[in-house]
Symmetry: C2
Subunit: 143 residues, 2 copies
DNA sequence: GTCATTAGTAAATAAAGATTTACTAAAAAT
DNA sequence: ATTTTTAGTAAATCTTTATTTACTAATGAC
């Protein structure tokens, strides 16, 4: 049983992944690493310490110092001191930083919405409930 | 209606994505680009022309020449002439190349299987059918 | 058959990413 | 109170990735 579920989950991955590769295709204004940082901040949706980014992205903190300095200089994010830990710095996206991600996710949204017309109404309804169920259960699994 | 489905789909992405980031965490033997190439060949599961990889990965073909030469030299893939187009070269994974991916996907599988115990039997069944449905419908949408 | 296009290669250069070592200052442990 | 850890910064170095230009040989269009 578990084996079957795991297999279904794994077939899901390439599908989602394909969409994601498109996402960063033509971002000329930022480097990959800058993109990753912004993406991560966007997904986590809260101010992060440099260390948390380092951990989440599997990138050395020394590397981030510069990346983040650049991003700050160009107005994509701001740093503010952490009140709880005076060694730490909290990084969060500015509207400009958020907007870049909004645009990218907008593209996924748009592409998806176009393709959904290949399904008939009944299938669309099925998809909606199936996706909803999957989301709920996957989130429960992560807790 | 379409809006609701798209939103559900988009909440799915970060979840799947998180797993994927782990995937390439500690691959010290290969560079990122080498990893991407092998990953792509593995997912497509057929011999690919250099140009197809270039297109699929959004990477200039000039870059791939070297990356692929390296990978070939180290035994991860082989090149063979395309019979239909004598300019082209078909690239495919060797067992050594496949194995590297098998190992990585094995980790996802394992991690997923562990977490699935957080769901009770009924939820597991629900997840199985929901995932199955989602896969079928998303594939239909891609056609 | 000629000419433009396409697949791949090659080499040089520039830019970005990764690693190492070392430092400061706050926090946590003893 | 002293020592050890931890968060972040800094600079040097090395590796990888990206870009530009140019070339060969097969293909496709005319």
């Amino acid at each position: 049983m578990i084996e079957e579920i795991a297999k279904e989950y794994m077939s899901l991955i390439p599908n989602v992944f394909e969409n994601f590769r498109e996402l960063n295709k033509d971002s000329t204004e930022l480097t990959h690493m800058q993109n990753h940082v912004i993406e991560y901040l966007y997904m986590q949706n809260r101010p992060l310490k440099l260390k948390e980014i380092s951990y989440g992205l599997h990138v050395a903190k020394q590397q981030l110092t510069n990346v983040i300095k650049e991003l700050e200089a160009e107005g994509y994010l701001i740093k503010s001191p952490d009140q709880k830990d005076k060694r730490a710095v909290l990084v969060s996206l500015t509207p400009k930083g958020k907007e870049i991600q909004d645009r990218k996710w907008g593209k996924i949204y748009q592409k998806f919405s176009e393709n959904i017309n290949k399904l008939n109404t009944e299938e669309q309804l099925d998809l909606k409930y199936a996706l909803h169920k999957v989301n709920i259960l996957l989130n429960k699994m992560r807790e």
